[in-house]
Symmetry: C2
Subunit: 552 residues, 2 copies
């Protein structure tokens, strides 16, 4: 069996290695346009930061074996043609024409099975001045080396990062480590568009506290400078800088697939079945060049990730070899380290869940990630999205210094298994004080969702409360914190009755008016609402997440 | 509705608070024998260690509100009778007789619903000398204060800890922080009996590297000393010491329930249905005093944990109030911090899985918990247990400095949802270099399990290889590491052919003999087996986990 794989970074080598293990005598050729194979592209920001010391580390296996063409030949039994471009595919004749980029020599490779692992390319907006010196992207090893060289020459004192997505934020931290003053410019109303606005606002506040300027709803128009970039022109004024990082996303590399007549998906990637087969049964595709499928809605999506590329690569290889494996889709899971914050998400956000027709219940829950008395405990601000009708968990988002990634991974598993919030609330998660509260954060959030679904109490989000205040709504804001807490962090316009006094002082409150109860995290706010409900109040709501989730 | 709850530490207050929120006018009385209510018993080792500074912190809510009887009355609307013991239950008359331990006064409390939350008691073996000074247990706040007082007087230079379970290990770290020299004495062949022997051996090696002596298969016979303990007598000799911690487990407090004629389970706890109802429909029970149910096998179990107590308490409260909620059982999940190691497990161990009739496949996989090039990456040694027939994940165990608790929580969720290893291998877990490898540890372990189930390769455990060496079996131990690695850490009796040379040098190996291939983590060992299989070898196995899991 002759197999040709086009692309040698993430999915390609995985496909090749797995095919060889399953069919040791397959004749597998791997074609890669660049010099480097199978490097850890996701590690580039950490190499730029200086946390990863040597470029070589990004090229090695976990035990330090360098993944060069000789390695692939000797160990994986793959013929590697690097610096070689696939220029056309003749599907009828089952042949790929390739060109050696060093010699310009062309040759034709016959195949029984062909695999597209052509990856993605940076989107480089066609703006005036984008080719000035010190306007960088972060996609290849060469980009990282160029940025490191500029850093070594002290040419990164003021950096503008265009795009507040995952790479933009990783680069923010990487360059801040070198002492750069950073401005993030984002065209959308908030950074990290995969996160809900009411949660991501806490990331933006945190970034500002770290000295990073965040400019949202701002359009970049051009780059100014003489040889080297000196400022970024936006619709809201110029921003002086000596370095620019353009991180506005990637698009799938599908030119060759399109020319070969393969079907592309709505989102632009190569259309594949769950066996990673393209519209041609002898051609498979895996990784960034393909269109994905949202596991909850079944809708097509384009979410390029190294982790997905590896899983898809294995599935493609098994099917190429005549086995049977399927990859059903993704949940849009993402995680990024932003200084000491972990920001992560999975599943549907609130808006998408509504658009998909779910009867959405949301929870905002700020809580320590370990037993609250354990000194290393840190806060996770959590937002949970669930469906009232089916009671299914639909999504989870986390922001804060606590270990949110653990809770998101639990949610990934639960959502994939179509678990309800009731199921999740009863999970026997690992508990000891250094690892979680006795009721883990995700269990507490699910219990709050269950209370809301069961009509035990009604929530109102900080965004809604803020709108009430702004429109001077006729509502009592009931602060049930202790006098000491109120003094330390007052909430203007509210009435303070400490929770412990409420059973005696509820008569001070009007039964005919809407009341919003809250405290620091709205646990006491919830207790207060229950006490008032018990006394016959019918218009009491609880502010979701309390002042810990307040947006100012 | 009159509700009486017996027990005020973990499940009891949860039941009471939840009942009050659901039925604000219920008349709820909470009876507690001790002085303290709702304290964080799991936090005692960290208070003894000095990590938690004030006793008060263990008594507070996450926002610092002290949970004293006044708090329960004013906030939770519970009548609290502390220092009060329930001495009998008249089920026909629906009355509980209680005695005030301060005044010896007795009174009778009528109930509509009664809840047992009587918790568990320490097992205190009836050995000679157990009442000597400085022989402690760790169960109540008073125990912790006594140990802290002894530490303050510098009376803990040499400590013997009887019992190598979770509390024993938490106390090991707590006392080591004070500079104590520690010996753990365990009657079983290994500490942490909930873990599999081949994984826990790495915990024992680590403890020894930290200066802790571990004496297994050792029976304590008596405590020697004059007033204060001076040594522990065992069947293997005396161990000199100035402090002893007895941590041999707890048993459910069921005397009152038994006297009242409630049915007890096989494991000794109060028998309850999934609604937490006892054999008397008006009596519920929750927490340590109850018998649990293993979610996989359906067998009864006794696994007292604060996390389970909270979940069961909520379920009991909902049902007491006429709602409907169920708690189906637990997976025996446990986690413990042992210095810088995280040791955790869930589901069935290898032996129990076999006994339960599963066709067991196991995987040993040592791998970094983050991208291997990310400097903060640390190793997790992982053991996965699955069923070949159904392909279901059955159990996961982790040991090492890496974040194993995250992977165990994913396994908890997957096992509860009855996921297969194929399902888990395709989970869209959160990936970025500071959080996981591109293929998360649990995904890699599941892929290895899939390869074994599909007959791609055959494994042999380090325990089996050691036995082969000891019986001088006619087997070739094929080390495919690089010469440099072999020189640094030789493996006597093996043949070294580096993986990269194997495609040329396989002719040096005999086809008729059994061959066990390995490397540092057996990834190259696996590649080697695939290469040899391709060349017609039929007797090649791979040593599970490689030298990283070797037991010496």
């Amino acid at each position: 069996m002759k197999v040709v794989i086009i692309g040698g970074v993430a999915a390609g080598p995985k496909v090749g290695a797995k095919i060889n293990r399953l069919c040791p005598h397959a004749d597998v050729t791997l074609i890669e346009k660049g010099e480097f194979l199978s490097y850890a592209g996701c590690g580039l920001p950490y190499y730029i930061a200086g946390e990863v010391k040597e470029q070589k580390e990004l090229m090695c296996t976990p035990v330090g074996v360098v993944r060069d063409p000789v390695f692939f030949q000797n160990v994986k039994n793959l013929k590697v043609l690097n610096r070689t471009e696939a220029i056309s595919v003749d599907r009828a004749a089952k042949m790929v024409t390739v060109r050696d980029l060093r010699t310009a020599e062309e040759k034709v490779l016959p195949y029984d099975k062909l695999v597209f692992a052509t990856g993605s390319s940076l989107i480089r907006p066609p703006l005036s001045g984008i080719d000035l010196n010190n306007v960088f992207s972060v996609h290849k090893v060469e980009d990282a080396e160029a940025i490191r060289a500029a850093l070594a020459q002290n040419k990164a004192k003021d950096v503008v990062i265009i795009g507040g997505g995952l790479i933009g934020l990783e680069m923010t931290e990487a360059l801040a480590r070198h002492g750069a003053r950073i401005t993030i410019v984002e065209r959308l109303p908030h950074i990290l568009p995969m996160m809900d606005a009411d949660l991501v606002i806490h990331v933006m506040k945190y970034l500002e506290s770290k000295g990073v300027k965040v400019r949202c709803s701002t359009l970049v128009q051009s780059f100014q400078g003489n040889g080297q970039v000196a400022s970024v022109r936006t619709d809201k004024g110029d921003i002086a800088c000596d370095m620019v990082i353009v991180a506005v996303g990637v698009r799938p590399n599908t030119g060759l697939a399109k020319d070969a007549g393969l079907e592309l998906g709505k989102t632009g990637g190569i259309k594949v079945s769950s066996t990673m087969q393209t519209s041609d049964p002898d051609i498979y595709a895996a990784g960034d060049c393909t269109e994905g499928c949202d596991l909850i809605t079944g809708e097509p999506c384009f979410i390029p990730l190294g982790s997905t590329a590896n899983k898809e690569g294995r599935v493609a290889a098994v099917n190429v070899c005549g086995g049977k494996d399927v990859f059903n889709g993704v949940l849009g899971t993402a995680v990024v380290k932003v200084f000491d914050y972990t920001v992560a998400r999975t599943g549907l956000g609130e808006e998408r869940a509504r658009k998909a027709g779910f009867d959405v219940v949301t929870v905002l829950s700020p809580a320590p990630d370990k037993a609250h008395y354990y000194p290393a405990a840190k806060t996770i601000m959590m937002k949970l999205i669930a469906d009232k009708k089916s009671r299914r968990l639909l999504g989870l988002q986390v922001v804060g210094p606590g270990e949110g990634d653990k809770r998101v991974d639990v949610a990934v598993t639960a959502i994939t298994a179509k678990m309800t919030v009731d199921d999740v609330a009863h999970l026997d998660l690992a508990y000891a004080p250094p690892y979680s509260p006795a009721m883990d954060n995700i269990i507490t959030a699910c219990d709050i969702a269950r209370n809301k679904m069961d009509g035990v109490f009604e929530g109102v989000t900080p965004v809604e409360v803020k709108a009430m205040i702004e429109r001077k709504a006729d509502v009592v804001l009931l602060d049930v914190r202790s006098p000491g807490e109120v003094q330390a962090f007052p909430f203007p316009g509210s009435v303070n009755i400490p929770l412990g006094a409420l059973r005696k002082r509820w008569t001070e409150l009007p039964k005919d008016k809407e009341i919003v109860a809250f405290c620091k995290i709205s646990l006491r706010g919830y207790e207060a609402a229950m006490i008032l409900k018990g006394e016959g109040f019918t218009k009491v709501k609880v502010m979701d997440g309390g002042l810990a989730m307040w947006i100012s």
